[in-house]
Every structure is written in structure tokens, then in C-alpha cells.
Amino acid sequence: MAREKIYLEEVFPSPFMQHWLIFRKTPVAMIGFACFIFLTILAVFTPVLAPYSPIDGNINMLLLPPAWHDDGNVSFLLGTDELGRDMLSRLMYGSSLTFGLSFVIVIVSLVIGVVIGSLSALTTGIKSSFLNHFLDVILSIPSLLLAIIIVAIIGPSVSNTVGAIILVLIPQFVHVTRYAVKEEFRKDYVLASKLDGASSFRILYYSIFPNIVDRIMSQATLAQSAAILDIATLGFLGLGAQIPLPEWGAILANGLDLFYIAPWTVYLPGLSILFAVVSTNLVGEGIRHALKLRKES
């Protein structure tokens, strides 16, 4: 019999891997994660996968109910809206607008927020106190209200919505990163590498970031669920995606007039938003649960 391990070697997985190993053991979190991956794939490959165009209508197929209904048509699986546009295709394209854009928003604001946050954690004195107060003020205003304010200033459109939500989410990342970096800086292993002569940036990059990555990820899932809801709400209020873009909130607002005749035009986009937010939140809960378990062990 071949011996695979000659030496008894202890393996220390990186903090991120440790986290993943715990995360993997929670089935609910893994279901959420699978849904999350599914939505991401959908958001990227929709132009290849979608059966119809999200904008061109089919004049012979107005207000067709979903296929399981008696009057439904199998080739329009989820029915059509008042202009004969296929609901399934619109919802699929909507995933790249609502979900995909929220993903982009979170990545951008995460990068900016983490950079500002870790730099500000290194500063002390009046600059840091000013930043603290400023963050307190900004954080006390809810993200949706702030996004509405910014959109009110720069005018309604998708790109402005994205910009507004990025701006709104940055302070949260700054706050979380700043707090986490400051906490790590007090620990002994950082002191050890400081005594070795490492510069602050080296400590940040090699010692601290691997250890706070999970906390930032947990904040990222919170931010993403807020971003999805904000994009959809702004779309619903007519301040975000404009007609004819198939953004989920905008589709819902569009179906509002026909709510009683064609309820599926309101049910389905709402369900999609709920699905996206729940799967994001499940991933977030899984990450936080794993964080808690790791702290206890």
C-alpha cells in the first residue's frame, strides 16, 4: 500500500479557507449560495439564454397568462405583458439589470470603501475625528433616502441610480473596514510583524486583510441586498431605469395599471426581487454564522 503522507504534516488553511470550510457545512447557506451563483450566471449569459427580445413586442400575443393557466401558451412560459413582450425574457434581462448592477455596485463601493477605510484607520487625531463625525452623520441617513436625494439632484436614469447607490454604500464599507482594521492592529501578531520592521502598508496587505476579509464579505452581502432593493425601488418610483428597460422594479410599476387583469405582470417581478434578496441574505447569514462559530472555537 502506497503511503501518501510520509510526514505528519499539519495543514493550516488560510483564514478565508477556514471560513469556507465552516460555511460549507450549513445546508441553508449553501442553498442560498447556489441560488446566488445561478443568478450570477443568469445575469451574465442572459443575451444567449433568453428566448425573445425584452423590448420588441409580439402584437398577436398581448396579455397572455403564464403557461400553466388554461389560456396560456407554452412558447411564452411566463406569459406576456400589455405590449406582447415575453415576461420570461424580460425577467431574465432584468436579472442582469437589477442583480448584475447591484453586484457591480457592491464591488465598486467595496473597493473604494476598503481603501478609504484602511487609510483612515492608519490616521489619528483631528482628521480621524472629523471622518468619524462625518460618517456618523451619513450613516444615520438610510441608504434609500440618500439614493433618492442623489437621484433627485442628478436626474433619473439607470447610470445615475448606479452612481447614487455606489456613493451611498461607500460609507458603510469605510466604517466596517476602519473598525476591523483598528481592532486587528491591536493584536499581538501585528505587533510581531511591526517589530520585524514591516511598514504599515505591508502589515495591512499581508497580515490584516486576510483576517478581515470575512467581515468585509459579510458587509458586502448586506450591501448587496440593500442595493437590489434600492435599485428596484427607484425603478418602481420612476427614478431609476426608464421605459422600456426591463428592470424588475420598473416592470412591476409598468404592470401596475393592469394589476387586476394581468396580475402575473406584478407577481413575477416581485417574486424575482424577493428571490434575489433572500438568496443574498442567506449567503450573508451563512457567512455571519461561520464567523460566529470561528470566534467561539
Binding site: H133, D136, V137, S140, I141, P142, L144, L145, I148, I149, V151, A152, I153, P156, S225, L229, A232, T233, F236, L237, G238, L239, G249, L252, L256, F259, Y260, P263, V266, P269, G270, I273, L274, V277, V278, N281, L282, E285
Partner: protein
């Protein structure tokens, strides 16, 4: 306590300064003449324009312009709404109480259901009822509020016909506006149909308030659950147990009081959140509040209304925030030091 008050006051002035500067700079960022944006006088004649320019000191440098704007704001002159040409302070004085009323009722509903449920979940920590409450809470804060509002209208107003779906009160009742908060107005009025009006107003507010309350209620569930779990693990609870107090006594006398204090702190943060949710809900339920007005102003490009409406709304939210900080500090001596 004095230092605490001074700190809050300095934070308050700092924030107000930031907000007025932001609001002032908006008049330059919006398209059109800054004086017209500030005053809302769209139809002003040339002579009036000259007068306005003098009033807002546009010929002098930007700092003096800002201070003349500040003095306008402080004397309560926020200009005219571009769309309706009526005084903005007057419009907001009617609309803001309606939003506050809706938010307060929603806050009460959220606290009434959320906090006990959270305590219950904490007491049954890691058991099935805890998990069920947590999962329901998670779905609750994932639901988009506008969708929930529509579903509620469809179910309760149209299919079941139990509750009205739009407005604040039936048009049959004529209630004079004294305080702006409708329930008080009804009680103060001397109409013979006072109680019918009261019932009608309650029926109108129930559905939107419940819709607004769902998301904060789930947050209260989570907050009260975590704070109760924390309190139950402390040493004084163990000491109380060792003394031989019954479980009921421990919960009612010690645990609930100590965990409530932690929750009160978050009520302030939740209030801002609640007002935002209320703004969206107002659009769906045609509630005559500031949220609907603001969103309409945005789509009508009514810059004066946007600018000053935002200023007043954020002032209001911030004042509530600070008030709750004070209540918290008064209740919890530990918080006064930092």
C-alpha cells in the same frame, strides 16, 4: 450629562451646517438661475428679479450669498414651490405631520409585535420556534415594500373588501386641521360624527401602517433576540438563578428591562429607515404625506421643493435621532460617558 449634551449640540450644529451648505449648493447644481431655484419665483417680472437678486445678495461673493440664504431659512422663508406656486413651509406643514403620523403608528405596530417575538425567540434559543421566527423575519426584511403594499391592497381591499386602499380619511368627514396629526384633530373637533370619523381614519391608516411596519418589525425581532441572548448569558442572571428566582421572575424583573435599553438605542436609527419606507408606501396608498410630495416634485423638476423639502426632512430625521439619543442616555447611565 453636560458633556454629553454639548457633544450632541456640536454634532447637531455641524450637521445642520453641512445640510444647509448642501442645500445651498444644490441651487447652483440644478439647471436654471440660482435665484429662481432658491426662491421658486418662476414667473417673476424683471423688476421682481432685480429685487430677488438684491434680497439674496447675488452680486456679492459666495459666502455672503450663503449667509443671506441661511438667514432666509432661519426666518422660515423657504420660497415657493415651482409647480404649485404656494409657500413650501405651508405645504410641508400640512404634509409632514401626515408622514409622522403614519411612521409613528407603524413604529408602534412594529415594536408591539417585533420586540415580544424577539424575546420569545431568544428564550427558545436554538429550538424550532426560534428558527421559524428567524426565517419569517428574514423573508420579512427581504420583501420589497412596494410589492408588499400592492399585495396587501389586492388581498384586503379588493378581494376581501375589509379596508380602504387609498387616502387618509373618507371625504365625507370634514375635519379642521389644528395640529396636523389627524387623530388629534378628530378628537379636538366638535363634529357630531367624531367617532365615525375616528373609526374611518383608523381603517385608513391600518393597511399602510402594517405594510410600513413589516421591515422594522423584523429588525426589532433580530435586535431584541440578540440583546436578550446577550443578557441571559451575563453573570447577574446566573446570580439570580443561583438565588433561586423562578424563570418567569428572572425574565420579567431582570432580563427584559436590561435588554429593552439596548433596543431603544436602535429605535432612532430605525425611525429614519421607517420614514424612508413610509415615503415609498405613501406613493402606493396615495397617502398625502411628504414622501409622495417629494417624489412628485422630483418628476416635475420642482427644484425649490426638492431642495428645501430635503433640507426639512433631513433636519427632522436628525432631530428625532438626537432626541432618542438623549432618552437613551437618560435611561442608561453607562452611555453618558462616551
Amino acid at each position: 450629562m453636560l458633556i454629553f449634551t454639548l457633544r450632541r449640540l456640536s454634532l447637531f450644529t455641524f450637521t445642520m451646517l453641512l445640510l444647509t451648505i448642501l442645500s445651498f449648493s444644490l441651487s447652483f447644481l440644478f439647471p436654471g438661475d440660482s435665484v429662481i431655484n432658491l426662491s421658486g419665483e418662476v414667473n417673476a417680472t424683471a423688476a421682481q428679479l432685480v429685487e430677488l437678486n438684491l434680497e439674496y445678495k447675488t452680486d456679492q461673493n459666495i459666502v455672503i450669498q450663503y449667509f443671506s440664504y441661511l438667514s432666509h431659512v432661519l426666518t422660515g422663508d423657504l420660497g415657493l414651490s415651482m409647480a404649485s406656486q404656494s409657500l413650501i413651509t405651508h405645504e410641508i406643514a400640512i404634509l409632514l405631520p401626515a408622514t409622522v403620523e403614519l411612521s409613528l403608528v407603524a413604529l408602534l405596530i412594529a415594536m408591539f409585535f417585533g420586540i415580544p417575538l424577539g424575546f420569545f425567540a431568544a428564550i427558545r434559543h436554538n429550538k424550532r420556534s426560534d428558527n421559524i421566527i428567524l426565517s419569517v423575519a428574514m423573508i420579512g426584511y427581504s420583501i420589497p415594500v412596494f410589492w408588499l403594499g400592492l399585495l396587501a391592497i389586492l388581498l384586503f381591499s379588493i378581494n376581501l373588501g375589509w379596508l380602504p386602499s387609498a387616502g387618509k380619511i373618507s371625504l365625507l368627514f370634514e375635519i379642521e386641521s389644528i395640529t396636523g396629526i389627524q387623530f388629534f384633530d378628530i378628537l379636538l373637533s366638535d363634529s357630531p360624527y367624531k367617532w365615525q370619523a375616528f373609526r374611518d381614519a383608523s381603517a385608513h391608516i391600518l393597511l399602510p401602517a402594517c405594510v410600513v411596519a413589516i421591515a422594522p418589525a423584523t429588525i426589532f425581532i433580530r435586535l431584541s433576540r440578540t440583546s436578550m441572548i446577550e443578557v441571559l448569558q451575563t453573570n447577574y442572571i446566573k446570580a439570580a438563578k443561583a438565588k433561586g428566582l423562578s424563570f418567569k421572575q428572572i425574565i420579567i424583573r431582570h432580563a427584559i428591562r436590561n435588554s429593552l435599553i439596548k433596543i431603544i438605542r436602535h429605535v432612532g436609527l430605525q425611525f429614519a429607515n421607517l420614514v424612508t419606507i413610509a415615503m415609498v408606501t405613501e406613493v402606493i396608498f396615495s397617502w398625502p404625506g411628504i414622501g409622495r410630495w417629494l417624489i412628485e416634485s422630483i418628476s416635475q423638476r420642482d427644484y425649490t421643493a426638492i431642495q428645501n423639502g430635503l433640507l426639512l426632512l433631513s433636519c427632522f430625521i436628525f432631530i428625532v435621532h438626537i432626541l432618542i439619543d438623549f432618552i437613551y442616555a437618560a435611561l442608561n447611565p453607562l452611555a453618558r460617558d462616551n
